[in-house]
Symmetry: D2
Subunit: 290 residues, 4 copies
């Protein structure tokens, strides 16, 4: 397919490589041109404006947050796009903005598919992302080959794009809750002289298998929070979005409130660029042991 790709951060760049490998033609644009040039060697066609990227069979985008998105996808960009274009937005954005974008695209005869992904950059590089897609079924059908090139599994959630965003936020909230629980458990164990490593062996070998508990738990056990795979600052962004989405439907999320406070504590202590697992340090600090 002939596609555009907007937003070449760590995640976007590896997705483009996989799309090229699968034989697609990819026009790439990024605010900082250097990142786009780096993909030229891999076969991408670097374009000079979002408008040149926003056309063809479909366009994928992976920008950092609501503000970055709103700045690029303005009325002018949408107005110049060919009717029937499918725009696949893979960024983790607010539910409110997803609703707005879906409406704006529809009004101009464009298709908007929300397709946030689960997986860190290493998973993306291996083309093993989990894709949570929502939007019109026929639009998703058209871009399924693109999803197949970057992920191992596409879940189709429903016809309203923002529902995929809600699900992504709920998943990241659960992730954050698990990390905070690991951090608090470590603080409790530490207070009684029990090794976190022993505890992890027990629980990952039993009720809590899988990479989340082993991975974040391991970082907490070692007190090693760098290099970050998923930064505390970005985790905070997602928790904020979950709280916002919950607020919009009058739903209290008390654990999410705790997460927000703990992550703010991390940022306040200069650990925003550390891995999310730094919640373990926050929990230890509350107990006077960090």
């Amino acid at each position: 397919m002939d596609i555009g790709f907007i937003g070449l951060g760590e995640m976007g760049a590896v997705m483009v490589v996989n799309l090229l490998k699968a034989g697609h033609t990819v026009r790439v644009w990024n605010r900082t041109p250097a990142k786009a040039q780096a993909l030229a060697d891999a076969g991408a066609r670097v374009v000079a404006s979002p408008a040149e990227a926003f056309g063809g069979d479909a366009v994928m985008s992976m920008l950092a947050d609501d503000a970055a998105l709103r700045e690029v996808f303005d009325a002018a960009l949408l107005a110049q796009a060919p009717r029937g274009l499918v725009h696949v937005n893979m960024a983790t954005i607010s539910v409110a903005l997803a609703e707005t974008l879906a409406r704006e695209h529809a009004e101009l005869g464009l298709h908007y598919v929300a397709a946030p992904v689960l997986g860190r950059p290493d998973v993306a590089a291996a083309a093993k992302l989990t894709i949570i897609a929502a939007g019109a079924a026929e639009a998703i059908d058209r871009v399924q080959p693109l999803f197949d090139a970057i992920g191992q599994k596409t879940w189709r959630i429903g016809a309203l794009p923002q529902q995929a965003n809600v699900m992504k936020l709920a998943a990241n909230f659960m992730l954050a809750a698990a990390v905070e629980a690991l951090g608090e458990a470590a603080a409790l164990l530490g207070g009684h002289g029990v090794a976190m490593r022993d505890f992890l062996d027990v629980v990952t070998g039993g009720p809590f298998p899988g990479p989340v508990y082993a991975g974040y738990g391991g970082m907490i056990a070692e007190g090693r929070y760098e290099p970050a795979q998923f930064k505390a600052r970005l985790g905070l962004k997602d928790v904020r979005l979950a709280l916002e989405a919950a607020d919009a439907v009058a739903t209290p999320l008390p654990v999410a409130s705790v997460l927000r406070d703990s992550l703010l504590d991390a940022v306040a202590h200069g650990d925003g660029e550390c891995d999310f697992a730094v919640l373990g340090k926050v929990a230890a600090r509350r107990a006077g042991r960090a």
Copy 2:
């Protein structure tokens, strides 16, 4: 081995059956005699007093809580026991009481091993419990054949019995945190019309494999909280013990505080006998949807 077993609730009873199957001689005692009689058919020898059970090669106990334990294991019972007896306490009790019991046993030349278990009655019936043991190594060595008869894996945590209790409480705290997170996620999703069942498929197929998320999440997705496998009332008991153990070492556990409040809410609404997963109902109620 010739052992005694004190406390024949749902968990204790199936353990005794497995101990008998493995060829051990088991003298059983229970406050309510009916429960002991039921095991006679399986080959257990029913005795009339705790003192008759508290002797032999070793004694296992599985009583409901601190109060029940304190009532049975009083000074008189300990004083009449043969020196060198190994008492294996598998109940989930307070860290403070575990410390006290360890000291009292030691003063009388008795061995005290704390060996709380992970696993519900069905896991116990299959002799697949995970056993978290702490105490003197030689004492644990002596009762290892008993552990082998009831569990699939014994973790040896350290020489201080109470450390096993801390670890058990930390594990149950993590379990409760996961269930609460599932409940809050379900409330968020529900508010936006996304099916919890779809969400579970995504997360259990990805970051959160294993029986905890699938099992409790499934009950929340269906809004089915009976029959209970692990009662909310007992979950609350364990969260209280975790908070107490944390308090003793000046360690704040904000998520545990949320759990306690949510579980109290469940109990206050008459759902204490429901499964722990009823936290999903509490989360929905906070959002006016239960």
Copy 3:
């Protein structure tokens, strides 16, 4: 003075009456014209557009929230205003918007004074508001006669307008915390069969004098949450703004998080239009008694 007044809700309308009583000439504008007409009898000059109001010696504004404010005070309105105009914004808005407005006014040679007020409509009607003012001293000097007409006391906080907003949000946060504490205390007392009314007598006669504890406490004691003097929905708005302002400076406010959750619970149960004191009902509901 010859002033404009924009925003004629419950608070704005009584302020205008007091400004007229004090002899000032007041041009009034409101989105819903009916409210403006009602003030014509009292001597106000009703104008047809914000631009006609936004001139003269000074302009006061009292709009509902950030969105309403942003809609009226756009680039065009500011651009047409006479240089040197003092705009006094008395609404409770976000700290971020206050910063933005201050900058936008300054760029056009206009003065921006933030002057949020403490006091409900009945206090405003009695011209007894407490005014928290921040901005350039000379600008505040010029509008002090207006403050004297509507309030009993003006506190000058500093040169940065947004600081007055921070202080207002902190004050409303403290108010919300006091009401929540009253609600939780009432739930605790109720659980033990102690009358909230007796408790209020003791604490308002001792450590907690003043109208806040007596007023909100009285409503909780009687379980009477209508008519609302300060609506739960508006209290929630202010708590959200406090959390946002705290987030911007990486400051966790755990009690504010609890307040947000409790107020969302109230809104979710259809009590958003009830008085703020409905936090007492939320606390009782958590305990299964409402």
Copy 4:
């Protein structure tokens, strides 16, 4: 009257002085005899055992906590007391223990009156305590002259002694909530460069008059937490008792949970002997500014 007084800490000692001043005969006993001797000069009669103090027309007691109380008021002490004796317990103890003591006294024909007090040592010295009394009306009538000697106001709450304890715990909970709110407000203000002192002027001159906000707020504004008037460690004890009393009636108190965590944080950082106002330091630390 001829009375006994048991427990001569800071509060007890000044009460005894006031009782002596009012002309009563007071037999005093304290675990640490030195404290009793200091009162001999003021006219108290020092006795060598609790039994010698626990007789006469009435006995007042003011011990530190449940454990101290349980140790002194054992079965033997109660058994030797003259039938009809009125025991007035002014300590802040658990609701559960108050219930137990009331029952034990009744079984022996003794009267038990719970009479916790509001007021710090300086208030006690001035004989201006607020007394919250509960128990049989005729028993309270008999000791009213004693209350008149030490306090300025006696509130009669009801016939069940423990209800006075619930009320005291609710009052101290409200106090703690106010101090925490002050601390969080100070952290928010500090983040935006607004002076806590200015804020205090505004709120104590308006919605929050009285000594609590001015006193604790002032300590927070100055960051001065010593010497302590009411220690954080004791505040934590009372919050724990409030949570326990709430738990017994299945009542979640989310703000109390926050208070507990913040006070544990203070203790963990070695500030348990500081004044309660040290909650302001905890709030600042969470924001990386302490």
